[in-house]
């Protein structure tokens, strides 16, 4: 795979604060890559170093194979979709989209052609003369995206552009963004704190915390095989058990033995975490044929339409979350009921 963006040992300090800490990563051509993490994890700073608005304290930034560390933003082959969109309020839709092309002094008919293409890409044909204030939030969003895309950047950077939208619109825009990316084939780097957005759209995700990339991988790799308790908890909910590992079994204090999938590289003995996703756990008054089965009592029941979420208290006083497809009324387990919960060994992931 051809590499479009590469960060080599990049560190950014603001005074004493280390925003990005010795970060190295690469992003392939045409990839939809997400930087995912809680606020203050350094994801926006990383994006701003790629776009050129921040200069790394140490390390190098390569874009399209060229060293870009000292190149100002207006000379970089990147375009940024800003968190607050930053559409020019004094210009109409056409003048906003054509801003970059006019600066590059493209011929007028070429500019008109490209703006038209872009507007049809985001299904806003005929919006040329509209004022920015007359557009809805979702429309402004799409104009901001094509204002950047029309310049045919090597990399399109998106800084949480869906933040201000309401939930329904966000869900629509997530689908829309992925469609746009598939159609134009440009490399997208997407910054977000929303794991749902990142999982849905990304080819690969870098989970960041404290200025470091804790794990980089496909959504499935990260969801199914989190490398730390933090990631397991940040990407969807997880049930974590602490215990000591030996020979494919984890001994958890007060609960018993959890049989886990033995991986050949696991040789270390001692304290480990076992992670089981809520939807991998079965729950019922009786359970059969599972590797790990434990007794518990239902503490809370949340009927959420398509799924039902249970909070179950286990014998070691730990609460676990179980999500199952909603069944009929008679099968719903009420709080206080004695139940069994269980899961197979392949659904119990070891975090070392």
């Amino acid at each position: 795979m051809k590499i479009d963006v590469e960060l080599k040992n990049v560190t950014k300090r603001f005074g004493d604060v280390v925003a990005v800490d010795d970060l190295s990563l690469w992003i392939g051509k045409g990839e939809f890559f997400s930087l995912l993490g809680p606020s203050g994890c350094g994801k926006t700073t990383t994006l701003r170093m790629i776009s050129g608005f921040e200069k790394p304290t140490e390390g190098e930034v390569y874009i399209g194979g060229e060293l870009m560390t000292d190149v100002p933003p207006f000379k970089r082959p990147t375009n940024l979709v800003f968190q607050n969109l930053a559409l020019f309020p004094h210009l109409n839709v056409y003048d906003n989209i054509s801003f970059g092309l006019k600066i590059k002094k493209l011929p007028k008919d070429e500019i008109q052609k490209r703006v038209k293409e872009m507007l049809s890409l985001v299904r806003l044909s005929g919006y040329e003369k509209r004022k920015i204030k007359q557009l809805s939030g979702g429309e402004q969003q799409r104009i901001a995206i094509v204002r950047a895309l029309v310049n045919e950047p090597t990399v399109l950077l998106l800084d949480e552009p869906l933040g201000p939208l309401d939930l329904k619109l966000r869900e629509e825009m997530v689908v829309e963004l992925k469609r746009i990316q598939r159609e134009v084939g440009t490399t997208f780097i997407y910054v977000t704190h929303d794991q749902g957005e990142a999982l849905t759209m990304s080819d690969r995700i870098a989970v960041m915390k404290g200025g470091k990339a804790l794990q980089i991988g496909t959504p499935m790799e990260i969801y199914e095989g989190p490398k730390s308790g933090f990631i397991a908890d940040f990407i969807g909910r997880s049930n974590l058990f602490e215990g000591s590992y030996a020979d494919g079994v984890v001994e958890v204090d007060g609960l018993g033995r959890i049989i886990v999938e033995t991986e050949p590289q696991v040789s270390r003995k001692g304290s480990v975490l076992v992670c089981t996703k809520p939807e991998k756990i079965s729950i019922g008054r009786t359970l059969k044929g599972l590797d790990n089965v434990f007794d518990g009592g239902v503490k809370e029941t949340y009927y959420q339409g398509s799924v039902t979420t249970y909070r179950v208290l286990l014998q070691n006083d730990s609460l676990i979350t179980v999500v199952v497809p909603s069944s009929g009324e008679k099968d719903i387990l009420g709080s206080g009921e004695k139940v069994k919960v269980g899961w197979n060994r392949e659904d119990a992931k070891l975090i070392i």
Partner: protein, 301 residues
């Protein structure tokens, strides 16, 4: 039965009308203020401008001659003064904006934590009286002033240059005294510009200069219109600076009005000129308001 319903409908209507009158009363302070301090003197002036002077006393013989006189008296001297005043007002407006804009820009964009130290500094010239300021400048650029003395001592000139006592001196003192005022409205309009817009411009390939031309300047237009409003209208009717710094060539229409009232005792002619001035100011205001929108103008204030 039919009559009943109409009466029933009428009664609340009357109440509603009385209530609406009550609302109008709330405007009373504003109307009174305008009436006492603006409408009253202007009305007297308006009436006088159509009267005839008899033995230096305005007499109610109605005529349009005073307005005609502006265009014909003294071989069109007054029309020329009118146009000259318009030109000087435009020059002062442009000059003071050209001085104030860079200062406002610097404070807003580069001021950092010193923003609100630098801004009040701009207003300090107003602690000094306008007349003192003019004479201060006279000591600098006057016939025997600092600049002339220096230039003669250096040997660049053999006799003093007449910087003072002409129309250029009037424009100069008006520019340097207006410029600090204008920093404020321009600063306010620059402060309102979302800085990420400039980042967006840069991201789209604009150099800092292109950014200024395509984003900062158009978005600071409300401030510039306010500045124009502030300067052009009072300058148009200015008479102090021409009197103190202008000499013969520096006279403006304001000087003519002053002399019509004070020296010629021709109140009717003076009133006619004054009223024309008011109308020109009114038209300028309306054009500016149409251009900027009343709301943006008021917000910038």
């Amino acid at each position: 039965m039919k009559d009943d319903t109409t009466i029933r409908e009428r009664v609340p209507n009357i109440f509603r009308k009385m209530k609406r009158l009550g609302y109008y009363w709330r405007l009373f302070p504003a109307v009174f203020w305008l009436g006492a301090f603006l409408i009253l003197p202007l009305s007297v002036m308006f009436i006088f401008s159509f009267w005839t002077m008899v033995n230096f006393v305005p007499t109610p013989t109605w005529t349009l001659q005073n307005y005609l006189d502006i265009f014909v008296r003294a071989e069109g001297l007054y029309v020329k003064l009118l146009f000259k005043s318009l030109g000087m007002s435009a020059a002062v407006t442009l000059g003071s904006i050209a001085l104030a804009y860079p200062a406002a820009y610097y404070i807003s964009m580069r001021g950092g934590k010193y923003k609100y130290v630098l801004l009040p500094l701009c207003i300090t010239p107003f602690m000094v009286s306008w007349v003192v300021l003019i004479f201060g400048w006279r000591m600098v650029i006057g016939y025997t002033g600092l600049v002339n003395t220096l230039l003669m001592n250096v040997g660049l000139i053999s006799e003093p240059v007449r910087f003072w006592g002409n129309w250029m001196a009037v424009i100069f003192v008006l520019i340097v005294s207006w410029a600090p005022w204008l920093v404020l409205p321009i600063f306010v309009s620059l402060e309102k510009i979302d800085r990420t817009l400039l980042e967006a411009g840069e991201d789209l390939g604009a150099t800092p200069l292109e950014n200024f031309r395509k984003i900062t300047l158009p978005l600071s237009m409300p401030g510039l219109l306010i500045a124009t409003f502030f300067v052009s209208i009072p300058t148009f009717g200015e008479f102090v600076a021409p009197a103190l710094a202008g000499g013969a060539s520096g006279a403006m229409i304001g000087s003519a009005i002053e002399s019509a009232f004070k020296r010629m005792h021709d109140w009717s002619f003076g009133s006619a000129m004054s009223f024309l001035l008011v109308i020109i100011a009114l038209i300028t205001s309306l054009v500016l308001i149409r251009k900027a929108g009343l709301k943006t103008l008021m917000e910038s204030l």
